[in-house]
Amino acid sequence: MDMDDVFKALADPTRRELLDRLRAGNGQTLGELCERLDMSRQAVTKHLAVLEAANLVTSVRRGREKLHYLNPAPIGEIYDRWIGKYEQARVAALADLKRALEEKEK
């Protein structure tokens, strides 16, 4: 896998939005992903192709339908590469702190 492809794929807000939608509901069809997105099916298809090429999205066929799944492996590799196991506890503690503080503000 080419990490350039992963970063290029993640550099677009629509593609990140698609990943968010898959995280919320895995295994969606193109039609389901297009709902409430102000974009043509062709445009969404192109974005999904970029995400699939980067291995951030994978798909399985069910009959005539193609179901899309968020594939976290490339993001896991980014995490491993720059965070590493010694930093993990500290980063998790900071993330917890940030979450706690932000929830208080709401």
């Binding site: 896998m1 895995n26 399985v60 069910r62 009959g63 179901l67 799944y69 594939n71 492996a73």
Partner: protein, 142 residues
């Protein structure tokens, strides 16, 4: 046909035979599967015992459904832990395809009960296990 709940794809810099070994050899699974030894003779219909690390509770059980070395491995899985033990068996299918000098490993986990707690828990579990598998294989001397 129900919708698969979990699908993961990992590219691994190791040939399919090595990936197969990593999935079926308890000495190897112990290295990345939270200390679990996955024990079976890997013949279709044979039982599988997921012997967990110390303090991790009773073994999970399963049965071999497909064993087409080194391409497809499928088994049923019954989780013995807590409330999940009440759920019916789910199905795990690993597909290994050659990809250049390495392999593309696809995991499809389906046939969960509606609203399965196991499916929810494995959303975090599988990516960690698969990342561990990849790391264990790629750090091996060729």
């Amino acid at each position: 046909m129900t919708k698969p709940s979990l699908v993961y794809v990992n590219n691994i810099a190791a040939p399919p035979e090595k990936v197969w070994q990593a999935l079926t050899d308890p000495e190897f699974t112990q290295r990345y599967w939270y200390g679990t030894r996955v024990e079976s003779d890997w013949k279709v219909g044979s039982p599988i015992t997921f012997v967990k690390g110390p303090g991790m509770g009773a073994p999970d059980t399963g049965r071999v459904l497909v064993a087409d070395k080194p391409r497809t491995l499928a088994f049923s899985w019954h989780i013995a832990w807590g409330e999940m033990a009440k759920e019916k068996d789910s199905r795990v299918t690993f597909t290994i395809e050659p990809d250049g000098a390495g392999s593309k490993l696809t995991l499809v986990h389906d046939e969960f009960e509606e609203g399965s707690a196991a499916a929810e828990s494995l959303k975090n579990g599988w990516p960690a296990i698969l990342a561990g598998l990849k790391k264990a294989l790629e750090s091996q001397a060729p």
